[in-house]
Symmetry: C3
Subunit: 269 residues, 3 copies
């Protein structure tokens, strides 16, 4: 146990006490698992589509906002652009998940527009982070990264500096960086990539962790550790994807801050 693991445990503890209400503007495929993973971890999920309602929620009881462009439509893009501005005015941190950015032009442009309103965190795979940072490099294959997470480290640090956000690059090793300090997380299991929505739901957990952390970097590292530990525990019991998905929710619900303190594999680079 080091300072970093202690902090991650503390984030979970504070998240559970606060029960942050997270508004997720996310893709159609993962809404249910996103809500369930957030609930299991200790947050309160809300999904909305109407801009006026989004405005009202952000100015009343919301604690965080996730924007995930997985199945972006033109109408949803407009809603998202308005929502991040509303969040900014209301002082609510927002998280960007730039699904398949770099591969698909329309969403790449929309994400650039969204970034004019600074997010607290950006979570993506290596290909997405490289593309969002404007670097030439690996493209996604659909929603999959074609690059190792380490290959995106420099792009992540540069993106963190240019946006002011913490950047969380997920892969076999996860990297959390604020552009100055970088933390690695070696928790997790490969099967997490074979259940639809685990990565996308991570964005909602990240928004919830922001409500329990002092800095976005702490929240990013805690997100990686909490989900990674739950994932490796679930994989040890259920190595196949259908039972794994149910078990992952059980492990998130059963996970204690002590478990995080003992099992988090976090290190400063």
């Amino acid at each position: 146990m080091n300072e970093l693991t202690h902090t991650a445990a503390d984030v979970l503890s504070r998240l559970r006490a606060k029960r942050p209400l997270i508004l997720s503007l996310t893709n159609n495929v993962v809404q249910n698992i996103t809500a369930n993973m957030l609930l299991a971890t200790g947050g309160v999920p809300v999904m909305l589509t109407h801009s006026e309602e989004i405005h009202d929620l952000l100015h009343s009881c919301a604690n965080g906002l996730l924007v995930n462009v997985g199945t972006l439509s033109e109408q949803q893009a407009q809603t998202m652009i308005t929502a991040v501005k509303d969040a900014q005015k209301a002082g609510i941190p927002w998280v960007l998940d730039p699904v398949a950015v770099g591969l698909l032009k329309y969403r790449t442009e929309v994400c650039r527009t969204l970034l004019q309103t600074p997010p607290a965190m950006i979570r993506g795979n290596a290909s997405e982070i490289i593309a969002l940072a404007g670097a030439e490099g690996a493209l996604c294959r659909g929603v999959e990264s074609t690059a190792e997470s380490a290959a995106a480290l420099q792009a992540a640090q540069s993106l963190a500096r240019s946006t002011g956000a913490a950047v969380l690059v997920t892969g076999e090793t996860d990297y959390a960086t604020d552009g100055t300090t970088t933390i690695t997380c070696r928790n997790g299991d490969e099967i997490m990539t074979r259940v639809t929505g685990v990565g996308c739901a991570m964005g909602a957990l990240a928004a919830a962790c922001l409500a329990g952390a002092d800095t976005p970097l702490q929240a990013a590292a805690a997100t990686a550790a909490i989900l990674g530990i739950a994932g490796e525990r679930a994989a040890a019991k259920c190595p196949l994807p259908g039972s794994f998905a149910a078990q992952l929710l059980d492990e998130l619900a059963a996970l204690s801050p002590d478990d995080v303190a003992k099992s988090a594999l976090l290190e400063q680079m």
Copy 2:
């Protein structure tokens, strides 16, 4: 076993024999679990988005309609307003689930418009029922009630009288009322609130129970008992949310009318 539990058992028995086809116009987050809970209980789920198709289904083989405003858009609101009128013309009972009404203005207005076409049943948590009845009081926190179900009893009775619908207020104790007679149901388990969509899917079960009941009040009480018994059985085996969700479907499918007669905790107030 009393008269009320016998009736609830009978509703399940008749529902299974009839296999009612329930059209659910519901939110994006819960469509899958809604369809699966309905199928497991004995109904036939259909979801549609096109007004003309909704019209055609309501005038051909539909037996009930659920309207749930959880992720309402302007287009969906128009579709729903037309759909409840179509249902009325076709003589098909409809159920309203006023998710987060009171907290969010747009949907509150839409629900008031919808209520100009009388529903057979309204199912909500305490905050939603209080808000829909027009009473001042507790607001939702997102989709969660901030009030105990008992606090909504008077509002529920008043709402039942003004709309002609049976009102089902869900919470630790559920209340079913037609404005004159009120039935309490003490079945259920707290974990049912920690799986996304169980409450929303209850609206589809309610629509199915209408097809097996003589009165909306009977259907409301049966809905609470059937889902509550399945929920407490599932919770006893699977106390964590991921495995609970799967077990709940198994218990709904395995539940017999005899189980309902023996385990329903229904009482007239």
Copy 3:
């Protein structure tokens, strides 16, 4: 083991090696299970809504396209009509799932328009295939067939000849035909019809199998066998729908080409 079972095993083997990226334009209710069943079997799922992004993906890394009209809107219909033309230009095979065609007029017309761009495969239940072939006959009850699959055999053969597609009629016995040769598959279990989306997800598996087969007929027979074997194995362990759904994903992931060769019940008529 005969020639047909050997071929089906080979399709699974080649599918796993290729990991085809399948774009599914499908209904809102089943997107998650569609993605998960495809991932478990060995494909890579993508869902999109924006026509320009669909165009870009079909002209870059997509290997197959599924079009499922389950919750069709006017906007989605336009997107689908454009998408199948894009797929044709890009040389990518597409699969049509004509959910509830015959019962609902709007989608029936849209499917006729879609068929002006020849699909590689059409998968439906007996009622849907009979309606799509233009024959008078059994209607759906919602999404359920009111006819036995055998009753659609002649319509399937006629539809295959008129469209050039392989047609897969699913039911207690599945029929795969190219209009000349017809193969029966007797794998599967009745519980597969009591979990929402298993049939719809079959269309995505079919698109993936096209990438591992020499002919659409081979792909259709392999689809029926692979899903049917996984379904009967899952049903033997988990006879109730909630646990069955999770187990089905586990069985698809664990299924080997050898299992298919040994257990496929495929015969040429």
